[in-house]
Amino acid sequence: MILHPGILALLTGSVLTLILCLYAAGSGLYILRYWDRNSTSALQYRLEQRTVLISTLVRLALVFEIASGLLFIYTVDELHPLFVGAMCATGTLNANPVGWNALTTKIALFFGASLWLVLNRFDDRAEDYPLVRGKFLALPLVAWLIGLDLYYQVSFFTGLKPEVITSCCGALFSSGGSGLAADLAGLPPGPTMVAFYAGAGLLLLALGSAWCWPSGVLRVILAVLAAGFFPLALAAIISFISLYIYQLPTHHCPFDLFQNHYHYIGYPLYLCLFTTVLCGLMPGIFTPLRRFSSLREALARAERRWLVVALLALLGFLTLASLPILLGPLSLLESA
């Protein structure tokens, strides 16, 4: 394995996070075993105290996973000189394709842990702990995702062989190549733009409708649209957004956006995207909580906040994606 400091930092952090989350998951199951909301025994009091620890541990795990996602991208980018043919993070990831699984797991973990923390917050705000069962049964899933993330990272880094010839984003993300990335890069810009903006428009419509009407069905539709918007936006980034940002019709890499020569545009762009998707998912996912009377008021307040944040984030994402298209000299549509 390449003994790179960034790799050591990632693996150390992941191991520690896994240990803490396994402890949290184990504690959660212990709590479920002995939990009795109507009891006023010392044990019940201790179990309630323990829920504070568990939410702190998962919160720390989430903060770490978000930071480690960025560190992961930067580390694989740092490693690219070791691989012949690699010019950026994409090249390193392709040197051992397990890396893509690690990245996907980190994304899944971000959403999973965020949703768990929101669920936990609702439970904390209610006097009768209505969600105890659900949240502690879901916690092992979060721990499992962290374990999977660690497994993929270890497989990825131990499987990296610096002398391996790899293909980089030029070959990977080019319409002449093969595989999902090449397919995405090969999507014709015109229809892809139409699909992207149509998807964004539908999402905006769903956000507006959910704001105006408290219907649970509308919220579920919003959640489905938000979930669908995520892969659509990623495809759009690879297919044409990155091209306009790089002002280069052949440069499809979704990671170079984080570099300083592109003014770190990747950070606000992906932040807006992830925020849009997360806040768009939550009203629909948490609609079933309406059946708990102790949560109705808190849920209604939170929903309004999510809808506003989702709307602002979506507008931010669309602005950042569209400005280079509108203002830059490159035009893909004429040449398409």
């Binding site: 390449i2 003994l3 400091p5 960034g6 803490l20 930067y74 580390t75 000189p81 070791l82 610096p162």
Partner: protein, 386 residues
């Protein structure tokens, strides 16, 4: 948000109040971070120096291998190399290693062809122009206590002493390239090492299009199967890999120090004093809940971590960039006895700072969060019953 900021303000005051208690942890923590950061700063500096230095190296170096070992290469191969499409200038090089028993050092002897040596700058004096002259790296000059105008005697392959007049000494700024270098006229070197007629040490090959280097190397290998073409990017990759590997080894070794520190942190966090227990009990009694007290403890831990991080980074900076990594350089630089004084360029790299933060703050927070929660779970009722 306001509540968090207020608790942070209280945490800062609490950390300052418990100076004595926190000082021991701070000292050890800062020391661990200093070592880790020094390793990373030095490695980065070495990698960058290697890149800078190798920027002047040829795109391709062609060596001959016999039975897997490096051997002298026939100069007749030069015309075959020149015939490969994409190849520009092909220059045979004559060089070798010399063990100086007087100083127990290894020198590199390089033959200078007539009119050559343009790429070697920073020279005091002049390059050797005639037989019996030489130019030295500053490390050689220091080891043999030789100045310009002095004679340097080396033992040749016939075990006879050969005297060379020193005409120039490479300045210290070029030390990484020239520290152990002795430049002789090519003919003198061939005689000194008793080079067989028609052979050289290797070839320096210029490739017009940098994108084509790998292709040219493959063609050379095809036409001359007993050769090993080495590209500049391969050398850079190898150095990168080696330095990363070495720093990784050091970091892995120091992981034990970090682990020991985390055990100390855990132990300290677990065994809170009666005074601290009382303090937490009072906070709980006057209206702080467990989450508030836990947040206070987490903030205290973060304040300590970030202070130690800052101190560690500053000390590492001073150690590496002011004191030339006195403690660490011998491990990372390599096997050569003649160490040049490596002056590493100061450089702030956010990625490195991120890595150091990850390697040091995360374990500390992880090892103190559960003991902090235990402390924060104190029963406020106990204040009434005490």
């Amino acid at each position: 948000m306001l509540r968090h900021l207020k608790i942070l303000e209280f945490a800062v005051a609490a950390t300052l109040r418990h100076k004595g208690r926190n000082l021991a942890i701070l000292v050890v923590y800062s020391l661990v971070i200093t070592i880790l950061a020094s390793v990373l700063f030095l490695t980065r500096g070495l990698k960058e120096e290697a890149q800078r230095v190798l920027a002047g190296a040829p795109e391709l170096t062609v060596q001959r291998l016999i039975a897997g070992r490096h051997d002298l290469i026939p100069t007749s191969y030069g015309s075959i190399l020149a015939s490969v499409p994409g190849v520009g200038r092909v220059t045979p090089r004559f060089w070798g290693y010399y063990y100086d028993s007087l100083t127990s050092c290894n020198f590199t002897l390089l033959g200078l062809s007539a009119g050559g040596g343009d790429h070697l700058e920073l020279l005091a004096g002049r390059l050797p122009t005639g037989s019996g002259e030489c130019a030295l790296g500053s490390g050689v000059a220091t080891a043999r206590r030789t100045e310009i105008g002095d004679d340097l005697v080396l033992i040749d392959s016939h075990n006879l002493g050969v005297s060379f007049e020193v005409t120039g000494i490479f300045a210290a700024e070029a030390a990484l390239l020239t520290n152990d270098l002795l430049l002789l006229p090519e003919t003198d070197l061939r005689v000194f090492f008793n080079f067989p007629e028609g052979s050289a040490t290797d070839f320096e090959v210029q490739v017009f299009n940098p994108q084509e280097v790998a292709t040219v190397a493959a063609k050379i290998k095809q036409r001359l199967p007993d050769t090993r073409p080495i590209t500049r990017s391969e050398i850079l990759r190898t150095y990168d890999s080696v330095f990363s590997w070495r720093s990784g080894i050091l970091l892995t070794v120091f992981a034990s120090a970090l682990l020991a520190f985390c055990i100390l942190a855990w132990d300290k966090a677990t065994g809170i004093s009666a005074e601290e227990k009382r303090e937490i009990g009072i906070l709980k009694a006057v209206g702080w809940d467990t989450a508030d007290v836990l947040e206070l403890k987490v903030w205290e831990g973060l304040i300590l971590s970030l202070t130690a991080l800052l101190l560690g980074l500053i000390f590492a900076w001073v150690h590496v960039y002011w004191f030339d990594s006195t403690l660490l350089a011998p491990v990372l630089k390599g096997w050569s006895v003649l160490f040049p004084r490596l002056v590493v360029t100061p450089h702030v790299d956010l990625y490195q700072l991120f890595v150091i933060t990850f390697l040091t703050v995360t374990p500390y927070v992880a090892s103190t969060v559960i003991p902090s929660w235990r402390a924060a779970s104190a029963d406020p009722d106990s204040m009434m019953r005490s």
